[in-house]
Symmetry: C2
Subunit: 503 residues, 2 copies
């Protein structure tokens, strides 16, 4: 995909401090990348008394946060949850976050669960607008300015067995994609604090003093400039979804079949800078991959089947859990089977807006009067789909799904005529971004692959591997929550370090 933006791809090995002739500028903290994570690092570090400088390779701040839907995943009993009558507490949020990846970072999950209510209020205090109402429908993105919505797998199996369900997606108060409202507020605060922001500056190497990171070298309009960081460099430069070579290296079986989605700067600079100083990049093969087959939510009454005509996932899951399961089916071949009452054309809400593309669609491949005719029409083994639908319908009549545990709400026998929508990998619009990145402590400190801290190096947001680390357990708003919260944590860590030296 042409990003419409020519990016330099090279990251050089760290430059020794002795090779720096002069520092173009100095500050306690140098932040590389001005999206949601970078803004929050700057706010906390500056308010904690440290001097801060932000470098951004684009011509202005915003990053990927500014182009996202605008959900923040928050819970434990936020003001909005309470206003809408939903009970939640920190322990349930923690248990849910732990269920979001079999290899979750427990320390980060605990930290965020305990602070999520306060973090949400902090975002409101920065001026991010949120209404206090609830959106009751199953969708990928509210088209209105409503706030609270189910954005994960909270009430579906097996998550419902791990934690008490509550809706936790809090959308900023704007129609369609509203991430820009989050960045508008945060950047307003950064400006108010007088934090210098240098744009059009691409950081191409770290500067090291022995093994300690103490600055960066950036290129701005062809000129190389060194910036000294007295206490730390914070990498908040996004993920690597727009770097197709890296995608091929780390998620090779998906590289050519997924529509990769991010801001033009998501070329892995942050991850690669961190690795150049010995930082470990972890879970680099994990990618968010959505199969946004709803809305309309009525399609949830349908069933997803693979090339053997068998179901493989409870269809009421979050769209990226569906995508994760679907892409692992034999040959990536998957169909959504629906009846007349549940039929609709998937709207691909958010992504049409994100991608500026209207050609994304699910193909309606057949409508037949019987399941037997449908299985023939789409080339499934004789009798396989007949059995699957027959079995499904018998149980659905009793509002049960012993096979895959779809919730009763979405169970209803399918009745003729039947239609099939092609949801196969490589045909349907699977949309993805990267979840792997630098290994960090909750404090933002970057770790090497022996779990030792790389001195002077910090990171947050999708440059790191954070709370969102598995498509099978993603929830809308988890990445923005992680980026903004752990950005703040890194900022506070550095403010404390600077204060300790000032004495």
């Amino acid at each position: 995909m042409d990003t419409g933006y020519k990016v330099s791809m090279s990251i050089t090995q760290p430059v020794p401090k002795s090779a720096v002739e002069r520092w173009h500028a100095e500050s306690d903290v140098v932040v590389v990348g001005y999206g949601g994570a970078g803004a929050c690092v700057a706010l906390e570090a500056k308010r904690g008394g440290a001097s801060v400088l932000i470098l951004e390779r684009a011509s202005g701040g915003g990053g990927t946060t500014a182009m996202c839907g605008g959900h923040v995943y928050a819970g434990g009993g936020t003001s909005v949850q309470r206003a809408c009558g939903f009970e939640d507490d920190a322990e349930q949020l923690f248990q849910y976050l732990m269920a979001c990846a079999p290899f979750q970072d427990e320390a980060k999950a605990r930290r965020y669960a305990n602070s999520s209510v306060a973090h949400f209020e902090w975002l409101r205090e920065q001026g991010v607008p949120f209404n206090s109402n609830f959106h009751p429908h199953r969708t990928t993105l509210q088209l209105d300015d409503s706030c609270l919505v189910w954005t994960g797998n909270e009430y579906v199996w097996p998550f419902s067995t791990r934690a008490k369900a509550a809706p936790r997606g809090h959308k900023a108060a704007g129609p369609f994609d509203a991430g820009h409202l989050i960045m508008k507020a945060l950047m307003g605060q950064v400006e108010r604090l007088g934090v210098p922001v240098v744009c059009d500056a691409r950081v191409e190497s770290l500067v090291v003093d022995d093994d300690t990171v103490c600055g960066v070298v950036a290129t701005q309009f062809g000129e190389r400039k060194a910036y000294r960081a007295r206490h730390g460099v914070v990498l908040t430069a996004g993920g690597f979804v727009m770097n197709h070579a890296m995608i091929r290296n780390h998620a090779p079986d998906l590289a050519e079949h997924v529509i990769w989605h991010g801001s033009p700067g998501d070329v892995g600079d942050g991850v690669r800078l961190g690795m150049s100083a010995g930082g470990a990049a972890i879970h680099m093969s994990e990618v968010f991959v959505t199969l946004p087959f709803y809305p309309p939510e009525s399609l949830t009454f349908g069933i997803l089947v693979n090339a053997t005509g068998q179901r493989f996932i409870n269809e009421d899951c979050y769209h990226a859990r569906i995508g994760h399961a679907a892409m692992h089916q034999p040959g990536g071949r998957v169909w959504l089977i629906v009846d007349d009452a549940s039929f609709g054309i998937p709207a691909i809400n958010s992504d049409i807006h994100h991608l500026g593309r209207t050609d994304l669609q699910f193909e309606h491949v057949a409508t037949e009067g019987s399941v037997a005719e449908l299985e023939t029409a789409i080339g499934l083994p004789a009798g396989a789909l007949v059995h699957t639908v027959g079995q499904y319908n018998r149980w659905a009549a009793e509002r049960q799904d012993p096979l895959l545990h779809k919730t009763a709400k979405w169970l209803r026998p399918l009745e003729p005529p039947f239609a099939a929508l092609d949801c196969s990998l490589g045909k349907a619009p699977y949309i993805g971004f990267t979840l792997g990145g630098l290994s960090t402590l909750p404090s933002g400190e970057v770790l090497d692959d022996a779990n030792a801290v790389v001195p002077g190096l910090y990171a947050a947001g999708r440059t790191t591997c954070g709370l969102p680390r598995w498509s099978g357990g993603y929830a809308s708003g988890l990445s923005v929550a992680d980026a903004t919260f752990f950005g703040r944590e890194a900022g506070r860590t550095l403010a404390a370090a600077a204060a300790a030296v000032r004495g």
Copy 2:
């Protein structure tokens, strides 16, 4: 798992040449690691006129090649294939290798396919003993000294649709594990050529002259020594299977459920050294994971089902393709359903020998007179297994498997009584090793993540990502073939470079 061997885990950032006070030794080529790949680098480089030095962290050579089964995957019409009456050619081998991973390295596949016959003969010339007979049974490792055997997915669907099938596993002529015979021959040749081998020397950093790798620093009995490489350093230090921190970073969902298997030196030193100089590590999440549920081969007449009671893979696949499919089933829960005629206890041949463990077994969890009773006994949804077996049996009577394409040879209706063996991840012995590693050209040159060559740096064997790169398409002998062949290629590249400078 305690490897019985305390390993240092740290790899430091590259040391600038200016910081090296004196070189302990110099040679054209420095080889890091003395297994199959390292030995072959040394042989070709030395015979091509270059001076060579080998550094090995253990107290002697051998590496993982010395402890493997002893298969070399070779085809295209080897002397043994011809002696046994099997037709094969380079194009069919190439097509098969391409089918071995959806993200295969085409250049490496082409290079090996075209040279496989010659490479096999070269191994014979080095003194590796091979008989010329064929072993007709489906097994994981011949217990005798027979040579040719089916070791991959050649005749099973869908591989059979991609290339004409031929057996290509060539086992060195010794009973049980015979990898040591390969290393005995190769190391004998290295010794004959007078190549110096420094053992107990762990390389902990590369030395760089600007961006060019020009040496290494190794620690031997507590003393640090620098070794200069005039033309190149070759990393042949194995994979990272024994480095559990790295396994957790790259294959987190499997880390705790698989028995990781390798030599004690497989701690990722080679991969990490390469990365320290900017080399790209690719496909690090790809691991070989076997579910060795045969021999006895009669178990292939059984069916594998998941927690929904549904089949998911043709059971005649290679054991690591089975493992790959099984570990992706919901909750990792899998059972092998067999009848009286096909029943047996899996022997886990090779791995008992490799691991020195006799506690590895598949649990026989139930025997019942009917499928309905069996599905109840193992807790499957009511009616699910009854349908699966009924459908399977109806087709098997006609020796067909329209659902998953098991070959006719292994199709036979299952008859009561029925038994179930637990093949679930975390219960059955899944055994694994790593397939990801440095990105290299067929010449052995290491690439960075923009696909530019890292000057002076080469690699081969499991330190690289080579022909074996996907469990879903692994074949026994593929790793040794890749390590020895591309080790030779790297040696030849360096010999040519050294000769060019000598003029």
